[in-house]
Every structure is written in structure tokens, then in C-alpha cells.
Subunit: 250 residues, 2 copies
Amino acid sequence: MLSTLLNHRSIRRYKSIPVSTSDLNEILEAGTRASTTGNMQVYSIVVTTDPDIKEQLWECHFKQDMVRQAPVVLTFCADFNRFNKWCRQRQADPGYDNFLSFFTAAIDALLVAQNVAIAAEDKGLGICYLGTTTYMAHKIIEVLKLPKGVVPVTTLVIGYPDEMPGLTDRLPLQAVVHQQIYNDYTPEAIDAAYQPKENMPFYQEIVQKNGKKTLAQVFTDIRYTRNDNVRFSREFLEVIRQQGFMNHEL
Amino acid sequence: MLSTLLNHRSIRRYKSIPVSTSDLNEILEAGTRASTTGNMQVYSIVVTTDPDIKEQLWECHFKQDMVRQAPVVLTFCADFNRFNKWCRQRQADPGYDNFLSFFTAAIDALLVAQNVAIAAEDKGLGICYLGTTTYMAHKIIEVLKLPKGVVPVTTLVIGYPDEMPGLTDRLPLQAVVHQQIYNDYTPEAIDAAYQPKENMPFYQEIVQKNGKKTLAQVFTDIRYTRNDNVRFSREFLEVIRQQGFMNHEL
């Protein structure tokens, strides 16, 4: 099993073979075994295979080809709508229209998503997460008709791989693990953490191609810019409010 | 592998056997293979085994016995501190002091946490998530000395199980999965989703013991109340701001 975890790579090219309903259900079932706060299961999974709806999701996800190509798109949502409806149907007054409840539901959804990713990979399928989900949450809400109480937090595409990329590099374990308490990074520790990556020809090429001086500048100036982050922050916070998770009155 | 996922149960009683460093490192290594946004790895894991610090964390986590009993407490943090320091050391201007960046880092941390949970279980260890992490983030920040740019989002206790509880019930799969788009719940669908749970003697006893009329009331009136949720929401949002993730100026 550990080998499934250790061999994870994100797959961005897929064969046009569908995933069988029985395989998909087995994978989703394994997903729902993930830990969930108070066993409330405050999440939903939207399974999209319909080409027209996938096309609309593809627009949402910055037109990344894999959304069209992969046979299955799974949108994982923080969802208190179902729980709230249950409460109201049972003479109970739900107090889940606040940020903590949103975040609790997001945790639930993300743990399920990772279980689903692992179960899919264990079955020989490939997966890729779409970080664009939070950037474009307002559009995804329209496409998938998500009601109040529901916010998309991540997306997985799933299908049979049509590529086998190498393992992606990671920082040395000691760079992300702290013993007992947080040991803040000295300049030397930062160098030790990032130099192996910076010295890889793969990244040196990226720096050069982008006309930058350092790899860090590729991130700050091109890939994840302040402008985009601030714009998407405002929009995502507005989505959380509109979906009913920012009522902090007592 | 699927069997590891399908057999998950939260373990709340642990034997006083330590987890070996080599096992722990193997588990953490498997954790870091999880998908991460743009391969930025914007998370940290704090490994706490020291009894005095565990005692302080136990206070934070509402004095749940398992925090004292389990040999290892892992605090998973959204962490842009390391990445920001790297950027500044490389003539790059990091624009990651906003809510989107916090949420991106939280996703990273949560996917790693679930990989760690699965790797641990695959090795015969037991795990339990602590939802109290977000409620008491401000206190955990003090205990673990988390600097600006770092927010704890979840905690796992890990150790050798001293109990073997049965599998926890889950809602029927079709109650949490939607086909193509979100199919909002009719009153009948809500009944179908929750009645199997409500009819279990285990839950009927809980309702009775708590002097409530419905299981939903146990959640709204006792376990997860509006008062607590609103208070923890305000505190957690304040933590996110204090740790430097609410700058939305351009």
C-alpha cells in the first residue's frame, strides 16, 4: 500500500477509456471511509462525465486539457446544506452558517478527496488535482448548481493514464518536519532546503526560459502572483459569504 | 491497499509503546508524496513526542486523553513562512499574505495529513484526527511557537491501538454523491439518507441519554452549538489575520 502512496504522480494526459461504474463506486466508497468531524460527513462529491458539463468545467478550470480528456471529473464540496436540511426536518436549529463550519466541512471534503485519489491510483487509474477550484468557485457553483451551504474546495480528474511522468522532486524531509516545536528557518536552513531543487537542470531551464534570475521569481512573478492571489482571495471570501458561511452574529 | 482505506477506524486508546523513528520517518515520507499546489509544499508537520509539550497540547485539545496517551502527536500546519523566506532570500517578492494563499496551504497540509494517516494505518498503527485544532489554533500557535505565515489546521495522534472499535456507520453512498450536477435534497431524500442512522440502537441511546427528541438536536444543542461555532469562527479568522493571511490590498 505504501507503494501506492510513494508512486503517486499527477497525470495530465488520459486515454479515452471510460471508468466503469463499479470501479468508480468502489473508489468513492473508499473515499467515504475517511475520517469526518463528528461523523457528520459534511461534504458532497459531484461526479461529472457528461461531455457538455465537462466542457463548462473545463472553461472554469482555465481550459486545462485534462478536464476535457479525463473521463471523470470529481468536484469535492464542503457541504452543510444536507445536514442543515436534516436538522430543520428534525426540529433542530442548525448553527452552521459560519466560517468554522465552512472550514470543518472543507477538511471533511479534502480528506475524502485524498482517499479517493489513493483508491483510484491503487486501481491503476491516474489522477490530478485542480487548484483552480478555489479560484473559480463562483463559476463552478453556477455550472454545478450548488445551493447555499455548498462550496467547491477541490477537484480531481480521474482516468487511465496516457503518460508516465517521473516522480516529482520533494524538499528533504527535515525541511518540512519540525521536532517537538517549530524550529524557524535560518538563511542556511533555507539554502539547504531549496538548493537541491534549484540545482536541478529541469528547474534551471524553467528559470532561463522565463527570463528570471531565480526559481523563486518564477513563482512570485509568473505562476502565483500577488495580483492574482488578491483577486482570487476577495472572490473566494465573497463566495464563502454568499454560500452562507459568514454569519457571526449571536 | 483499498482494504487499509476500508478498515479505517479512529483509535482513541493507545498502548504505551513508542513508534520507532524509522517507521515514523517512512510514514512522514509517504505523507510528502501527496499532491501539492505547484509543488510548493506550503505546509509543515510538527512531531511532538516530549511529554511536557504533549501535556500542553492536551490542554489545547480539550484534555482529550488520547493526546497524552498516544506516543506521537502530529500538528499539520498551513505554512508559507518557509516559502516566503526562500523568496526573500532569492530577490523575489512573495504575494502570499492573503486568504487564497492560506487556503491553498491548508489544502496542501490536509492532503499530507491524510497520506500520513493511511501510511500509519498500513503499518498497523492507529490514528485519530483532532478537530479541536482549529478551535484552539491560537493556543497551539503559542505552544508550538508557530511564526507568522503558519497556521495549524489539523492534528493526528498516532500509536499502537489499545482498542479495536467496530467500523463507524456512513450515510448511503448515493446520499453524498451527485451525478453530473448537484441534485438538491427533497424531504424524502433527507429521510432516506438519515433514517438508517437514526434507527440504529447506538444513536437512539445517545438521543435518549441526552434527553433530546431527535439525533439532529444532539448535534445542534450539545455537540456543535451555534454559540461555540460563532466564537471559534471569530477566533480562527483572527488567527488567520494575525498569522498574516488577510492582506487584500494591491
